[in-house]
């Protein structure tokens, strides 16, 4: 590196202020931390309250995840100082979240498709009087299909 940095050691009792540039991290006013903490507590209570509402299960998930995303954004932005970070940090933060979003969308889509096709097999198994454990229902379904193909002929 070409440039040299002159380091000033601050004496005890000398506090750097918000706008003081030590070349290191950003110093956020304590008041902001306290307010964000209060907001996080309120949002936690809000998410519990929302769970008491008489709405569909899917609506519960959407509301709860929306509140959780706001809370996560507050922690990332303020407590983790992301709002004051460079572009490279933003890229490192958003990349895994993007991949995760893709994966969750993919698995969710997969689950909703399989949901259509499997219950019929389960029904057949149930009718045959085998009963089924919730745990192995999914894994056994393909075999059951072969079985019934046999028995119907």
């Amino acid at each position: 590196m070409e440039h040299t940095t002159e380091w000033k050691r601050l004496g005890k009792g000398d506090l750097p202020t918000e706008d003081m540039d030590t070349g290191l991290g950003h110093i956020v006013p304590i008041d902001v931390y306290n307010k964000v903490f209060a907001a996080l507590v309120v949002l936690t209570l809000a998410t519990v309250w929302a769970a008491t509402l008489e709405v569909s299960g899917t609506a519960h998930i959407i509301v709860a995840m929306f509140i959780a995303l706001i809370k996560a954004a507050l922690v990332y932005g303020c407590f983790m100082h992301l709002l004051f970070e460079k572009k490279i940090i933003w890229i490192i933060v958003t990349y895994p979240l993007f991949i995760l979003a893709l994966m969750i969308l993919g698995t969710t889509g997969d689950a909703s498709v399989k949901r259509e096709s499997i219950p019929s097999n389960v029904e057949i198994e149930y009718k045959k009087g085998k009963g089924f454990g919730v745990n192995d229902e999914f894994l056994q379904a393909p075999d059951v299909k072969e079985d019934t193909a046999h028995s119907t002929h």
């Binding site: 590196m1 940095t5 002159e6 380091w7 000033k8 050691r9 601050l10 506090l15 750097p16 030590t22 070349g23 290191l24 991290g25 110093i27 956020v28 304590i30 931390y33 306290n34 903490f37 996080l40 507590v41 936690t44 998410t47 519990v48 769970a51 008491t52 509402l53 008489e54 299960g57 519960h60 998930i61 709860a64 995840m65 509140i67 959780a68 809370k71 996560a72 922690v75 990332y76 303020c78 407590f79 983790m80 490279i88 940090i89 490192i92 933060v93 990349y95 895994p96 995760l100 994966m103 969750i104 993919g106 698995t107 969710t108 997969d110 689950a111 399989k114 949901r115 919730v134 745990n135």
Partner: protein
């Protein structure tokens, strides 16, 4: 007052202090990205089985003690706040104050553990094991990996506390506090998602679907 400083204690000798600080922080953010992938795998499994056994999940989620879950959420949020106050104190070179906030963080982490232990032992005594249902398998796995992170965090924060005792941090060197703070906040963020997903989505009280 102002004079040329040699490298502040604790930084790597081959790096400038400022560069060392930013490198360490960059490394922690990259590690946190791998953490997202670790927990992301579990969240994907959860998403799949959540939709697959929608009603079962609502039913079993209702068996969890959401009051204890909510309490633990508040405990962990408070510990995160204590941690950030500790980082703030370290940034200002206030070792003693920083140490106090770190102790508060550690105490709250142990409170979290205590509540979690009550929950686990209650479930186990009712014969609810990871093998009982995929919901419980995911519950024990996800909260277990999360608890492991809390345990590691407690160790790291205690190490920071020992450093504050030695007056190691100053306005130009507080990298470990900030970097471990990042880790601690991520553990908090994970819980922010685990709490509603595991405890609340069956609905509670009047909104319960079971």
């Amino acid at each position: 007052m102002s004079h040329h400083e040699t490298l502040p204690a604790g930084h790597y000798h081959h790096l400038e202090p400022e560069q060392a600080y930013h490198s360490a922080k960059l490394a922690m953010w990259i590690f946190l990205a791998t953490e997202i992938h670790l927990f992301g795998g579990a969240f994907c499994a959860f998403a799949f089985f959540r939709w697959r056994y929608f009603d079962d999940f609502n039913h079993y989620a209702g068996q969890l003690n959401w009051q204890l879950g909510a309490l633990n959420t508040l405990v962990l949020l408070t510990s995160s706040w204590a941690m950030v106050r500790g980082v703030d104190a370290a940034q200002k070179g206030l070792n003693k104050l920083c140490g106090r906030w770190l102790i508060v963080t550690i105490i709250l982490a142990f409170v979290f553990f205590g509540i979690k232990a009550i929950e686990y032992s209650t479930k186990l005594s009712h014969g609810i094991y990871p093998s009982t249902h995929i919901f419980w398998g995911l519950y024990y796995t996800m909260t277990g990996i999360h608890a492991l992170h809390i345990a590691v965090g407690i160790g790291l924060i205690y190490w920071l506390y020992l450093l504050t005792k030695k007056e190691r941090f100053s306005t130009v060197y507080y990298t470990p506090v900030e970097v471990i703070g990042l880790y601690w906040h991520l553990v908090d963020v994970i819980w922010i998602f685990l709490f509603p997903l595991l405890y609340l989505l069956g609905g509670v009280g009047a909104g319960a679907h079971h």
